[in-house]
């Protein structure tokens, strides 16, 4: 846009104005639905009315005071943490492997590892149920964590492969040349430099598991993760507790994202 403004034709002004008006409407479409949830979560009544007639914090009290909501949340945190640790550990090793020494194979291997992204979660759920029911793993929290690890892996690998490709591998080679073992070089030189990629990968893995409904629905029996509890709640007794839970989740996401964006300055698109 190096043109002096005076050289712009009226038609260009018009098309530029239309483009920005259209774009702001699309932004509104993206964000407005999330904002709607905030007033609902503070509503005084139990009807889904917007704007609410009166305001209160009773739905937050309902959430924090309910054993079943808290249990579901804790279970999701447990499953998400285990899936995050496993997928980041395996994904980090995998990304290290394909960014060095495997030039000819790395493309094909990356495609194999990204395959879980295109398989519909309902198909994966039915497959895993059949496998786990023969192994007696249906209804165990670690069964869900293992299945979630598979679903988290592609995101972790995308983020870490991008991070490692930008990283200058000569630094690691130099450390080895100076007498460090490969392991020490990776731990002391490589990992600190790609720390922000590792954190982004961990965050993506955690929310992938924390939000996952369908697999958790099929693989849990009597107990439920937070998404399952939310799904049942929306289906059966839609009350503003779900809005309170939603607001808590949105606040959590915004805080973490803000921190990550500050660390990753200007590389936001990588985290997509």
């Amino acid at each position: 846009m190096s043109h002096p403004l005076s050289r712009l034709k009226t038609s260009e002004w018009l098309s530029r104005g239309l483009l920005s008006a259209f774009s702001w409407l699309v932004f509104l479409f993206l964000v407005a639905p999330l904002l709607i949830v905030v007033p609902i979560s503070f509503s005084g009544g139990s009807y889904l009315r917007f704007p609410p007639d009166s305001y209160s914090v009773r739905w937050y009290e309902t959430y924090f005071g309910s054993q079943s909501w808290i249990d579901a949340t804790l279970l999701s945190i447990l499953v998400g943490t285990v899936a995050t640790i496993l997928s980041v550990a395996l994904g980090f090793l995998f990304a290290l492997g394909i960014t060095r020494g495997m030039r000819g194979w790395s493309g094909a291997l990356e495609k194999v590892a990204l395959a879980p992204m295109i398989v519909p979660s309902i198909v994966y759920s039915v497959s895993m149920y059949s496998l786990f029911s023969s192994l007696g793993l249906v209804g165990t929290w670690y069964g869900i964590a293992l299945a979630h690890t598979v679903l988290c892996l592609p995101f972790v690998i995308i983020v870490l492969t991008a991070g490692l490709k930008e990283y200058d591998i000569d630094q690691e080679t130099a450390a080895i040349g100076l007498g460090a073992s490969r392991l020490v070089a990776i731990r002391r030189i490589t990992i600190p430099q790609i720390r922000s990629s590792l954190l982004s990968a961990a965050f993506l893995a955690f929310i992938t598991s924390f939000d996952e409904l369908v697999v958790a629905m099929f693989l849990s029996s009597t107990f439920g993760t937070l998404p399952k509890k939310m799904f049942d709640n929306i289906r059966l007794q839609i009350d503003p507790t779900i809005a309170a839970v939603s607001v808590l989740e949105i606040v959590m996401i915004v805080i973490v994202m803000f921190v990550l964006l500050r660390m990753n300055k200007g590389k936001a698109s990588r985290m997509a």
Partner: protein
């Protein structure tokens, strides 16, 4: 000799690095899916395929799913392309804010976003209230529990998946190309068809492929925003497995869905390869 030994050593250690993830994927991803696939071909299970194909109702559900996925993809493309161009022309700070606004919905739970649409489209929701206030309607109309609601919710949820790949390819285009096109006398339309489109087609097709594939398997939005009126394959599979405990039929339907998804994915991949190669041929001619 030493160099060759080093290369072999490096390859072996890389193999050791990639194998834990590959073993996990093999055991807990490829094996169960192949197992499901082969189970549907065994013994009397194979009759389920004929049953699905001969049943008008099931075929209707497949067509319905495909139709909804195509509508969502087209609407998202129309919304995302101009937005991607707009964002790519913003200042660095503007870009960061814009991407922040795109990523928040992307990272927010799909259940939360679906719930938000239930509120938005509810009888006493903001859209109905506004329409009444404007005098367009007298009484609340049914917006939720309809195909419209499902499409609206899905369009919202899938938009970032369309936008980000398009933005990635649009933002890589050198801005001076547009100045050059204008300088050579190209109007807005021919700049679009001859500069912007060919240079961003890869991102567009990546976005289309992602949204189509994700939309084909979607479960949450039809279940919660459709109110039982919007049959899609994922709901049919869940019903067969969860309500009728007919796991064999659930398996057959899953296998068919999987094949449709893979075909869709490969067709777009092939189209991308053809178009990108065509572009290079034109450029070098």
């Amino acid at each position: 000799m030493n160099a060759r030994f080093q290369a072999i050593k490096a390859r072996t250690s890389s193999l050791a690095l990639v194998s834990p993830a590959l073993v996990l994927l093999g055991l807990l991803f490829f094996y169960p899916i192949l197992l499901l696939f082969f189970t549907t071909l065994e013994g009397e299970n194979i009759g389920n395929y004929a049953q699905v194909v001969n049943s008008g109702a099931s075929m209707q559900v497949f067509l319905n799913t495909l139709r909804i996925a195509v509508i969502v993809t087209v609407v998202d493309l129309v919304l995302a392309y101009p937005l991607a161009i707009y964002i790519s022309r913003l200042s660095p700070t503007g870009k960061a804010i814009a991407l922040f606004l795109v990523l928040i919905p992307l990272w927010t739970s799909q259940l939360v976003r679906t719930y938000a649409w239930m509120v938005l489209l509810g009888r006493q929701g903001p859209i109905n209230n506004t329409l009444i206030w404007l005098g367009v309607i007298d009484a609340p109309i049914r917006l939720a529990n309809s195909e419209f609601a499902v499409v609206a919710g899905m369009t919202h949820i899938m938009l970032p998946y369309m936008l980000l790949p398009i933005y990635n390819s649009v933002s890589k285009i050198d801005n001076s190309l547009f100045d050059a096109a204008r300088g050579l006398g190209a109007g807005a339309f021919s700049t679009f068809t001859r500069v912007l489109m060919p240079l961003s087609i890869q991102g567009v097709l990546a976005g289309v492929s992602l949204v189509l594939v994700l939309s084909l398997g979607v479960f949450i939005m039809p279940a919660l925003l459709g109110g039982g009126r919007v049959p899609v394959i994922a709901l049919l599979i869940e019903q067969q497995a969860g309500s009728f405990l007919n796991w064999a039929m659930a398996g057959t339907l899953s296998a068919i869905l999987m094949v449709i998804v893979i075909i869709t994915f490969l067709v777009i991949k092939f189209a991308t390869r053809m178009l990108v190669r065509g572009r290079i041929d034109v450029a070098s001619a």
